[in-house]
């Protein structure tokens, strides 16, 4: 016992000088008669490896661990050897052939069978470890697969969720090539998973639910009879409810849609606002799946009558999407939508949706032009570019259908839009390129199937919870953005051309027309024709632009986009230490980041002075510095060229890990990001010739 504790303390000292004193005790520890000491020593080897790779390998510890792993009577020692070896070998594998071959041997049949046969001796945590290893093992014949599954079947009844999930992962991977058995596995694991969901703490059930979510998404059919398990309970945390709502949406089919939608409607009436919103969206998604649309539309229209503003807002957006997909329902919807007072709707998205409907169905809605007109009167109070854009489009549509009534409104709208154009060109341009995703949910499934497969391969890892593949976590966002663009291009070309019309009008063609419409209020039919012919021209131009630039650059984009002026720093700034301290205390941290330094930079940083001179060349001054290798600490400051606004920086550099931590505080928060970039680029140039 004491030998073990001593050994652990010794290994935990992360000091390179002591390494030589470690080798002896570790060697003895691995051969100790007490299993506790061997257990500690196995992990100790790993610690040694992290301090000094060469010492560890020279002393031939990995080989000793391997021997111990295959022969030690104590299961925990075996487990520790296994985890230590896995880590050492995977780190070594890149550099040495031998290590990667050793790693292969872990997956050989004898080793796997040896571990599997001792499964019951292992602690629950070690069982997870072994199961993870077995997942990587590829059985040579199908009888082996069944042997393994029979051996491990009772693991599914384990109380520890981690063990159960690891087992499930193994089963699913093993049977991937055997479709019918794979289905049986799904059936088999359903009950244990549901038990786990309801037996643990909310956090545990969240982890299990995330996995269940993945499975449901893969095979919604199999779970469609269990939909009642995914009903939310009122005291569950938001994150659990959200997952459940998504699953309910996924399992909906002909037979259960009615009940699911009924349940969802109950949530919509709930006091919990985020959940109410989510559930209305879920109803919409189910509607887009084409089951029982009739009933759903009725429900949605009931929502509109509830007169809770957030319910109305969400529902409007949905109704709009539904109308795009099922135009046949327009009559029912329009009747209800017409009754909604625009004053009750504050959210831009909902307002835009309402305006869209007003424009699209203006021929059926009696007072559409007048509602639009009153909205235009309040143009200045409307800050969302999306709403303004929709308003313009809607007025135009309305004008084509009912010219006499809309003429005045159109004139006013175009005038307002033109004034607006100068302030909003960037955001409006962006809107034109990428209009709000309309009815995207219809297409959403196609994009993800590849990612889903990736996540499935990483079952029982964090990827499932984040719903992202491990390597995809960064690239995914870019990917999504691109796909969204493509999709929108395919989706509503007509819609977009309409919306492009008035905007392009604003930029290049509209000036004369605006004059015309405002001068002659009592406009004649010719005036109307002029307006009609006008928008077709830019629309044509813009479709050309799509061909040219794949829709990414449009005529509008050619107008110069004002970018913030580059940040200039005062080369001769001055600040006394007292003021610095005072400011440092007062200001909040604007940004805090961690960079890695270039190797040259690390080499050059033998003394703090070198860095100081370098940073001074970039107009960043040092007020205090200190520290010894490998840790240095600097306080920098800088001043803007024209103003007296200052930036304060605390920079901690560790040369051994070539990492620097940077905290930036600024008088003017808005420029702190620009400064941070500047600082980083200055730092990264350090040490370069």
């Amino acid at each position: 016992m004491i030998r073990g504790l001593a050994l652990r303390s010794l290994c935990s000292l992360r000091v390179a000088n002591l390494v030589e004193y470690l080798v002896g005790p570790l060697g003895l520890g691995l051969k100790d008669s007490n299993s506790y000491v061997r257990m500690v020593a196995a992990i100790g080897v790993l610690k040694l490896y992290h301090i000094s790779v060469s010492t560890c390998v020279d002393a031939d510890f990995p080989a000793m661990l391997k021997h111990l792993m295959l022969h030690d009577p104590d299961a925990q020692v075996v487990a520790n050897c296994l985890s230590a070896l896995q880590e050492i070998w995977s780190l070594e594998a890149s550099s040495s052939e031998e290590a990667s071959r050793d790693r292969e041997t872990l997956l050989s049949k004898p080793v796997i069978y040896y571990l599997l046969n001792r499964m019951k001796e292992f602690s629950e945590w070690a069982q997870c470890l072994v199961l993870e290893l077995v997942v990587k093992y590829v059985p040579s014949e199908s009888s082996e697969i069944f042997d393994i599954m029979n051996l491990l079947e009772d693991r599914l009844q384990h109380a520890n969720g981690a063990v159960v999930l690891a087992t499930i992962k193994l089963f699913l991977q093993l049977t991937l090539s055997m479709t019918d058995v794979h289905q049986q596995v799904y059936e088999r694991i359903k009950a244990p998973l549901l038990t786990l969901v309801s037996s643990g703490s909310p956090e545990q059930s969240y982890a299990v639910l995330s996995h269940l979510h993945l499975l449901v998404m893969r095979a919604p059919m199999l779970f469609s009879s269990d939909y009642k398990h995914f009903y939310c309970q009122y005291n569950e945390p938001f994150y659990v409810k959200k997952l459940k709502l998504e699953m309910l949406t996924a399992v909906a089919n002909e037979s259960n849609t009615y009940e699911i939608v009924t349940e969802l409607c109950e949530y919509a009436a709930n006091v919990d606002i985020p959940i109410a919103r989510e559930s209305i969206r879920a109803v919409g998604k189910i509607a887009l799946q084409q089951y029982d649309v009739n009933a759903i539309v009725d429900r949605l229209l009931q929502f509109l009558e509830m007169e809770k503003d957030y319910v109305t807002a969400e529902t409007l957006v949905l109704v709009k999407d539904l109308l795009r997909k099922y135009p046949q329902w327009s009559h029912d919807c329009i009747a209800v939508v017409g009754n909604i007072s625009t004053k009750n709707i504050q959210e831009p998205k909902a307002k835009a949706a309402l305006i869209w409907m007003l424009g699209e169905y203006s021929q059926d809605m009696h007072d559409a032009p007048y509602i639009l007109e009153s909205l235009i009167d309040n143009w200045d109070d409307e800050h969302s570019a999306e709403v303004r854009l929709h308003l313009l489009t809607a007025v135009l549509k309305c004008f084509f259908k009912r010219p006499p009534e809309t003429q005045k409104a159109l004139g006013a709208a175009l005038a307002a839009g033109l004034v607006d154009f100068h302030q909003y060109n960037v955001s409006v341009a962006e809107r034109v390129v990428n209009p709000p995703k309309q009815a995207v949910s219809v297409f959403a499934d196609t994009q993800n199937s590849e990612i889903k497969d990736r996540i499935f391969d990483e079952f029982n890892t964090l990827s499932v919870v984040y719903q992202k593949g491990q390597n995809l976590q960064i690239t995914l966002f870019q990917l999504r953005g691109l796909e969204a663009n493509d999709k929108d291009l395919l989706l509503g070309t007509s819609e977009k051309e309409e919306s492009r019309g008035p905007i392009n009008n604003g930029s290049e063609y509209s000036a004369p027309m605006y004059d015309g419409s405002s001068v002659s209020m009592a406009a004649s039919q010719t005036q109307a024709e002029l307006t009609i012919s006008n928008p077709t021209l830019p629309a044509h131009a813009s479709s050309l632009a799509i061909d040219d630039l794949l829709g990414l650059g449009l005529p509008v984009a050619s107008t110069p986009v004002p970018s913030p002026p580059p940040l200039k720093l005062n080369a001769k700034a001055g600040l006394d230490p007292g003021t610095f301290q005072q400011k440092w205390r007062q200001l909040p941290i604007a940004s805090s980041q961690e960079y890695s330094l270039s190797p040259q930079g690390v080499v050059a940083l033998t003394a703090p002075q070198a860095l100081l001179r370098h940073m001074q060349g970039h107009s960043i001054h040092c007020i205090a510095s200190g520290g010894k290798s490998p840790n240095f600490k600097f306080f920098f400051f800088a001043q803007k060229a024209e103003e007296s606004s200052t930036f304060l920086v605390e920079c901690i550099i560790n040369t051994s890990s070539s990492k620097s931590q940077i905290k930036i505080k600024a008088d003017d928060q808005s420029t702190s990001q620009a400064f941070s970039d500047l600082f980083q680029s200055a730092l990264s140039k350090f040490g370069m010739p």
């Binding site: 992990i43 925990q76 520890n160 956090e203 938001f238 029982n460």
Partner: protein
């Protein structure tokens, strides 16, 4: 592989902090707490138990108002880490007797000792209270359970099952009795959490029982124990649909949908005579978790009625009927109903002669609360409340209010009729029989009636 483990108080103070691998920067606790605290402001509700900031994965569980957090940079199994955190909390409770901020602070040496043994260099070693016993040398400093700070209503849910009365359960596994000899006893709790949803017309829409058999053993010498359950117990429902209510109506066999067992349980004779054989390890653990969706008789019937009474007034009538034998009493019953947002004032009228009942109207979340200390089986209680509105209702008040939710605890009652027939301890002590306690408790998990 876990990089760091720490425990934060509700205010974000570091109570315990252990760095195992030195891969994650020191300020992680602060980053974590900030993120959790401000999660709500992004309109996302509560922070999920797992999230990633700058490449560091943060896991947390809430236990007894404390945040148990682990960090790692590796793509690990989330349920493994969350399960581990829960287990660390349980082990700490086993050793400290009571788990709260105070007890952790007073016993931090002991806790660090435990943490060193539970995790070594990021790898889980053991979480068995029994095994850890040999590695721990500090005596726990006992914190008086009576001085527990009152926990908010939210923490009752967080804590789940373990809020049992009785001092013995809050005893540390290694604390010595003043007399020098530990009392031989074993506690078996059958805890059932029931979830029922009634439709507005009083039908049961969904019902589920999540049960556990908890065991806490203070027996010396680790004798083998045999635990016998109902003979008519059966598991799994074959080909039948889970929600088939037509079959077993009320009486007959107890059918569990599924169950799982602790690793120390031997199931050799379970198929034959429904007995579990196990060698209980020290500390608290759940022998068996089970789930049941078989039809059962709900302990309470809730009736809620809202009627308009004039333009700016309405009346709410809540009726609760206890449908269990009069020998059983339900404790700490709490009935809640959210009211329309434009409710300004509520006046209550309790039935004559009501004792131990409280009523309250929470202005902030517009919620009516009705607390009853006790409800005796077979009795019925009514509450009338008059609401005053600030504006005219839109015609349909029932859509603006509700649903009614209810929480309660019923000792010595279990809805599933699962029973421990006998508890046999293999090693008979010569001098005396160990104390054996078997208790049944039913709690409300989600007990909701729609209106």
């Amino acid at each position: 592989m876990i990089s760091q483990f720490f425990v934060l108080s509700q205010r974000g103070d570091n109570i315990v902090f252990r760095d195992y691998r030195g891969e994650v920067q020191k300020g992680s606790a602060e980053i974590f707490f900030r993120k959790v605290k401000f999660w709500k402001e992004d309109g996302e509700g509560e922070a999920p138990p797992v999230f990633n900031v700058d490449g560091v994965n943060y896991f947390h569980v809430k236990v007894a108002g404390l945040l148990f957090v682990a960090t790692t940079r590796v793509n690990v199994s989330p349920s493994l880490v969350l399960e581990l955190l829960q287990r660390i909390a349980r082990v700490s409770k086993d050793y400290l007797g009571v788990l709260n901020e105070d007890s952790l602070r007073k016993n931090f040496v002991l806790v660090y000792e435990l943490l060193d043994e539970v995790i070594d260099f990021g790898y889980v070693q053991t979480t068995s209270t029994e095994v850890l016993k040999s590695c721990v040398f500090n005596e726990p400093i006992v914190v008086d359970a009576a001085r527990l700070p009152p926990l908010g209503p939210a923490s009752i849910f967080m804590q789940g099952t373990k809020r049992m009365p009785g001092t013995a359960v809050t005893k540390s596994v290694i604390a010595n009795e003043p007399g020098g000899r530990t009392r031989e006893e074993i506690f078996v709790d059958i805890i059932e959490k029931i979830s029922v949803t009634f439709s507005s017309s009083g039908y049961i829409l969904t019902s589920e029982i999540d049960g556990t058999i908890q065991m806490k053993s203070y027996l010396t010498g680790n004798p083998e124990i045999r635990l016998a359950l109902n003979d008519d117990l059966s598991i799994g429902r074959g080909g039948r649909s889970i929600y088939d209510y037509s079959g077993s109506s009320g009486s007959g066999a107890v059918i569990l949908d599924d169950c799982n067992f602790h690793e120390s349980v031997h199931l050799d004779s379970f198929d034959v005579d429904r007995t579990l054989t196990l060698v209980p390890s020290d500390g608290e653990f759940s022998v068996m978790n089970y789930r049941m969706t078989q039809e059962f008789k709900p302990p309470f019937r809730i009736n809620a009625l809202i009627e308009e009474a004039g333009t700016l007034k309405a009346e709410v009538i809540l009726k609760v009927r206890a449908e269990f034998p009069s020998s059983v009493t339900a404790n700490t019953v709490q009935v809640q109903i959210p009211l329309p947002t434009y409710t300004t004032r509520v006046s209550f009228e309790l039935e004559p002669g009501a004792v131990g009942q409280t009523t309250d109207f929470k202005e902030t979340n517009k919620r009516l609360e009705w607390g009853l200390k006790k409800i005796v089986g077979g009795s019925e209680h009514t509450l009338r409340a008059r609401l005053t509105f600030s504006q005219e209702s839109h015609g349909n008040i029932t859509r603006e209010a509700g649903p009614v939710s209810m929480t309660f605890t019923i000792p010595m009652y279990n809805a599933s009729r699962l029973q421990v027939k006998y508890l046999q301890i293999a090693k008979k002590s010569k001098t005396h029989n160990p104390y054996r306690w078997v208790r049944y408790v039913t709690q409300a998990n989600s007990y909701v009636a729609r209106i």
